[in-house]
Amino acid sequence: MFVSTRTLSRRWSLLALALLGSFPLLASGQNTLSQRIDQMIAASIPELAKKAAPPASDAEFLRRVTLDLTGTIPTTSETRAFLTDRSPGKRQRLIERLLASPEFARHQATLLDVMLMERRPDKHVPRAAWQEYLYQALAQNRPWDALARELLSTDGSDPKNRVAAKFFLEREAEPNLVTRDIARLFLGMNLQCAQCHDHPIVPDYKQDQYYGIYAFLTRVSLFSDPKSKTTMLAEKAEGEATFQSVFDKTKTTRTTGPRVPGRPLLKEPKLTKDAEYKVKPAKNVRPVPAFSRLALLGSEIARPDNVPFQRNFANRLWAQMMGRGLVHPLDMDHTDNPPAHPALLTMLAQEAVTQKFDIRHFLHDLALTQTYQRSSELPSGMQEPAPFLVAQLKPLLPEELAASLYQATGMTDIERTALGKKVAEATLHARVSAATAPLVNVFRSEAGTPEDFQPTLDQALQLTNGNLLRSWLNPRTGNLIDRLTKLKDAGALADEMYLSILTRYPTADERQDLANYLQKPGKDRVAACQDYAWALLTSAEFRFNH
C-alpha cells in the first residue's frame, strides 16, 4: 500500500535493508539511546508523567514524522493505511521506512543546503550539481564529519570535486564571512563580535579564537582560472592573522597562527623561502603552497574529538526534530547560555561520536523517543509549551509548505499519475519543485540570512489572492477538488478533505460544520469545496508541523 505510492527502486530496497540492519536492538538489559534520552529527561523533571502531554495520536505522529523526515505531508492513501493499521510496532516501521526512502535523502539534502548556503545565489557552482552532491552524500549515508571535512578543505581546482568548494566560493572566499559562518554552522559559536574585540557579554568568545580560524583563510583568495573559466581558491604561502582590539587604547597588534577553538595551535613546518611554493605566484597562475593551511582546516574543525563540533551536530539534529535546540540560539553555545539539559547534550555529543556522525542513525533514535512522540496539545494547566513536556510547533520550511500544499491539493497525485510507470523520486521531485518554486520564493529567507519564521503580508496576499494556490484548487481529473466533488456523501467528503489536507479524520463538529457549509444556499458544490479547502490549507494547523 505504501510502496504503491512511492516506488522504491531495487537499489533503494537494498539500501533500506542495509539501513534497517544498522539500527539493531540492543541485547536485553542495555538501553537504546532513545530510552536513555527519555530516562535523562524524566530524571530531571519531577512528576514528569503527570505533567507531560500524552503520546501523540497516530495521525499527529504520522504527519509530524513524515514532514520531519521527508519534507512533505503524507498522501491520502498513506494516511488511511497508517490509521487503519492496528499492528504493533507500526511507528518504528514507519520511521525506518521513511529513513530508508530517497525522499529522506532529498529532504535532508535540502535542509543541509539551506543551513550551509543560507539561500545565497548560485554564482560559482550551479544549484543542480550542488543539490545532487548533497543528495548523493545523504543517499550513501556519508558521515557528517567526513562531509564537513570535504566542504572545508576543497579548493575547487579539481573539476571532479569542485562542487564541494561551494561553501567557500559563494562567499567569495571572503575570510571574515567564511570565519563567521564556519564558527556558527560547524561549531555552534557565533564569534562575529570577536572580529573586533573579545565578546563584550560572552566571556567564552575571544578575539584570538576568531583569528585562529581566520588564520586558515587569510592566505586564501578567489582565483579565476583563465583556461577553464571557472573560479577556484588560490592560497599563498605567506600572510598572518594580525588583529587589534578596538577597545585597546595601547593599540597592541597581536598575531595568531591557525588554531580551531578548543584545539592546540596548528603545527606548521619551517620552510626556507625557496621551498615555500609548489607553484610560485605569477600573473594568471594559481599559486600552490608547499604547506597548505586550507587543506588542514576541514580536518581540524571536523575532528571526531572536537567537542564543539560534536555538540553542534547533536544540537542541530535535536532542533530539527524537536523544534528548538537544547542550546538556543543554535550558534550561541557558551557557558553563560547553558543548554536546556546540559547532561543530555553532553551525552548526545558523545553518542554522536559512537555513532560515527551518522545523521540517519541519530534521527532514527530521536524519532523513537517518547519525548519526540508526545502530543503538541497543551495539557490542561500548562500556559505555554514547556520544554520536553509537550511537542513544540515547528513552522514548515518554505519547501515543506509548498510541497505539502501541492500534495494536499492532489496536484502531486496528478504528477504521479502522469509519470505512470516512470515515476521515480528524482523525476517527481523535479516536477514538484518546478511547479512550487514561485511559492518557495515568497516564503524563503533573504540571501545570506538563516531561515527564520516571519509571516509577512506578501505571503498572506499570495495565499489569499495569488494564482498558484487558486489554480491548484481548480478541479482537474484526480486532484483534491475533483475527488471531493465526485463524493455524494457529505461524511465521506469530510473524511477525504481532512485526511488529504490535515492528515486526520474530522471531529463530529467539523463534519457537521462542513455538511452545513455544503448546504449553504446559492453555493455550488465546487465553490463550497474550494472555500473549505482554502480555509484548511491556509490555517495555522496546516502551516505548522505539530
Binding site: 562575529q192 510547533l393 503580508l457 506578501d458 480555509a535 495555522a540 505548522f544
Partner: protein, 427 residues
Amino acid sequence: METCRYACLSGEHSLSRRGFLGGMAAGVASLAGLATPALGKQLEKDQKHVLMIYLSGGVSQLETWDPKPGTPTGGPFRAISTSVPGIQICELLPHTARQMHHLALVRGLNTAENEHGRGSYIMHTGRRQEPAMKYPHLGSVMSKVLGAEHTGLPGYVHISPGGGGGFNKQDAAFLGPRYASVTLGNGKPPENLLRPQGMTDQAEHDRNDLQDRVNQRFARSRRTAETEAYTHSFEQAKQMMARKHLFEVEREPTRIQERYGKHDFGRHCLLARRLIESGATFVKVSHSNYDTHYENFEYHIEQLGEFDQTFATLLDDLHQRGLLKHTLVTVVSEFGRTPTINRNYGRDHWSKAWSIALAGAGIKGGTAVGKTNATGTAVTDREVNGGHVFHTYFRALGLSSTRNFYIDERPIPMADPKAAPITEVLA
C-alpha cells in the same frame, strides 16, 4: 467611497472582529482601518511618519541647495532669494524657495563614496558597506521603531518611477522580512492585493470566516506567538485589501491633482501624501534620473522643473493638513555632482562636498548648516557624513540615536557610534 482616515475609527473601537467581517460583507470595507482599533487614538496622536524623496542618480548640489553663481564651477544659473532672509538656493527651484521656512539645508556632506550602489547604501543605511554585515534601510528601521504593525499598511513603501513592484526582503537585513520594503512600480498597488476576478464579497467573507473558525479550534490547545503571527498576517492582508482605494490617486479632486502635477512624479507624490495621511510609517518616492554626465544643465532644467512645483506642493499640502509636524521629510541622493564641468557639459559623481534638505517633524525650518568653499570643491565648515544624517533622523523623530538593536545577544547600534546628530537643524 472616500478612503477613511484615522479619525473614522474613533467611533469604531467597540467593533468586534466578527463585526468587522460582517461590515465588510455589507460593503463598508473602509471601516477596517487599523490592526488594533484600541490603539487607534493613541496612534492618531503620536504616530510619526517619514517621507524620503530620493533623487536617483545623484542630483547636483550646485543646481539645487548650494549654488555658486559666477564662479568657474557655478554653471549658468543664478541664485535666488527664498522665504528665509540670507538663504539662497538655485533659480531652478522657485516654488521650493517659497517653502524655505520649512526646510533645513545640510551643505557639508562628505560621504566619500562615488559609486552608485555603495553611495545609495550609505544614504539608506547610514553606514558604509562591510563584508560580513548588512544594515537595514532607514525605512525598515522606521517601520520597526515607529511601530508600523499597527497601521494596517506595509511599514516601508517605495514608490518607484517604473518597472515592477514587489517585496524586497534584503532591505530589512537582520530586522527580518516583516520590515521589508514593498515597491509600488509606477505607483501600482502591491501584487495580489486585489481579490481574484469572479470572487464575490460573500464568497470572500465566507472563506475568511471558515479560516477564522479553523484557526480558533486549533488555538484552543496550540496557540503560540508564532501561530498568532501567522494568523495576523492574514488579518493584515484583509486590512490592506479593504484599503485598495488608497492607491487610486485619481479619486483626488482635479484641482489637487493639477497642483501636484499631472506627470508620474506628481502622481507618485500625491500617492505618498495619501499613504501618509492614512497612517503609513515610511514612504520613499524616487525621482529619476539625475545622473547627468552629459548636458547636466539641460537635464537639471527638465528634472527639477518636475521636482520643484511638485515638492513645494507636497510640503505645503502636508503643512495645510497638519501632517508636516508629524512627518520627517528628507531629500537625498546617492551623492552630489562634480563642481568641475566636464567636456560634455556634464557633471560627474561627487561625494566630497554636497547637500541634502530636511523638513517637518523635529526639524528647525529656515536653517542652513555647513559650508563649502567658493567653488564647492571642499567642505569648509561642519563636515558630516551619512552616519550624522542618521543620528539626526532619529533625534528629529524624538528617538534616542544611541540605542541598540540586538541580534540574539549581540548589540548593533541603530546609528553609527562614530557619528552624532546635526543638532543645528533640530527644532
